[in-house]
Symmetry: C2
Subunit: 263 residues, 2 copies
DNA sequence: TAGTGGTCTAGACCACCAT
DNA sequence: TGGTGGTCTAGACCACTAT
């Protein structure tokens, strides 16, 4: 390639050497998933460095998601998590009618895990610009209903979803006021009102979590979040709902299969 | 919700207070994108803390991608980057014939940026298990050709792609030996051989970069990567190619629009 | 050469956890 | 109560950048 590539081999600092030693111990199995690392003070003395240096080495491993520190207990090798998959069929009518539950519940049940979801708030709100764009509503008034949901598998938080529904659609319905949506959940209620979800648009990015997200999702250090801006479209491709999902990236994967020519 | 929620308000440590002060200075515009922060030594003395503490505050900002440290120069407020979007149509025949270039080139040109791509290696190789799975080839022999490509926009590295092609398909063709693929690029050559890309499966995850990826992609601290495992399928849904893309998440987004019922 | 970030030392006190 | 990680101090030397 034509770019002048700087030769930046990493310098062999003390903390990197300690980190490398730990990495290889994890790699060859002498430190198995779930095992506790030697304490920072032990690492310091065995490697002949200051505690801060040993600590920096541990920080490097935590940053790349290899280990997790637990205050007062120790530092542990992370166990490889099961990956959840969110695919194209998750909004299909068939899935909804076969299972009678929400897409999330169906997915988690299919993996023999126990799903839970909690609606933590419903309120009429001013939509963020990105949402107003996609729904075609005004950004300057309380033109949407905002529903905040938290999703768990086996008691562990997996994702947060902020669903925005135009007030004109939600007004006077269960969508605007209740967490009891009945059989088939959210998309069945949209169908009742004439909005059958037919297309879905998903815009995906990733970033590091905010401190609030990190605590709320109980994220270990060094785990990013996937952010999915999902738009539900009806038969005439009219948008009727936007949901922003924030999902822990270490437990979540997305799986899309599509024809390459638009339909 | 039924979960007992620990009240973990963040303790107001000294480093967090310094970080908060910097965050609000960035927020209210007194530190604009591109500006240099006060030096660590200056921050330490103005806030009455040790340099290590000021440094920790800066580290917290860097971790969340707000600032970037440059050795010997200073710490700078990051400028919001333009986001590139990789969507569903990128493999369509129409795009290929209209533009005559690869999907990546077309996308970057559409944003008035200058694309570059370099093939850095071609070799016959043993496929990783995930790739062998999806291609339906043996994992234990050199059953694939592996092509490594680096992609740039305006000279900045955007992504790396590792393309795996079954040896049976690539054998004796330009796919196995050349970076000169001719008009329409890779997928046009597959079409020549009877493999017209018709469906694409994309499995998306995110994680922190490895140290090698961080240097190679010139990633600032705190920027995760999107990992897309892309499978190209022909008219009969036979897989003929798998590419693993590693993309910097701060510059990249994915955009999928699909019918909710499978086709 | 002066100023910057990068790393390190050798201490100290605190909060948390298991016993 | 003793050991753990979390944070902090007050120094020090090195590597890099600009002048």
């Amino acid at each position: 390639m034509s770019e002048t590539k700087k030769d930046r081999r990493q310098p062999e600092t003390a903390s990197r050497q300690v980190a490398a030693a730990l990495r290889s111990a994890i790699g060859d199995g002498s430190l198995a998933p779930g095992d506790r690392l030697p304490s920072e003070r032990t690492l310091a003395s065995t490697h002949g460095v200051a505690r801060n240096t040993a600590r920096e080495a541990v920080r490097q491993l935590a940053e790349s998601g290899l280990v997790t520190a637990e205050h007062g207990r120790g530092v542990f090798v992370r166990v490889a998590p099961r990956l959840m998959r969110f695919g194209q069929l998750r909004y299909s009518k068939k899935l909804r009618e076969d299972t009678g539950v929400s897409p999330f519940h169906a997915e988690v049940l299919a993996q023999n895990r126990i799903p839970n979801a909690y609606l933590t708030s419903i309120e009429r709100a001013v939509p963020p610009a990105s949402v107003a764009d996609r729904l075609g509503v005004k950004v300057s008034s309380k033109s949407v209903v905002r529903r905040e949901n938290w999703y768990f598998a086996d008691g562990e938080p997996m994702q947060v979803g902020l669903t925005y529904i135009p007030w004109e659609i939600a007004k006077g319905t269960v969508l605007a006021r209740s967490d009891e949506l009945g059989p088939g959940d959210l998309y069945a209620r949209f169908a009742d009102r004439g909005y059958e979800i037919t297309y879905t648009r998903e815009e995906v990015t990733a970033r590091m979590p905010t401190p609030e997200e990190a605590t709320g999702l109980m994220l270990p250090d060094g785990v990013p979040v996937l952010v999915v801006l999902h738009t539900g479209l009806d038969q005439q491709r009219r948008p009727f709902e936007v949901t922003e999902f924030v999902m822990r990236a270490d437990y979540t994967g997305l799986d899309y299969t599509m024809p390459v020519d638009a339909s």
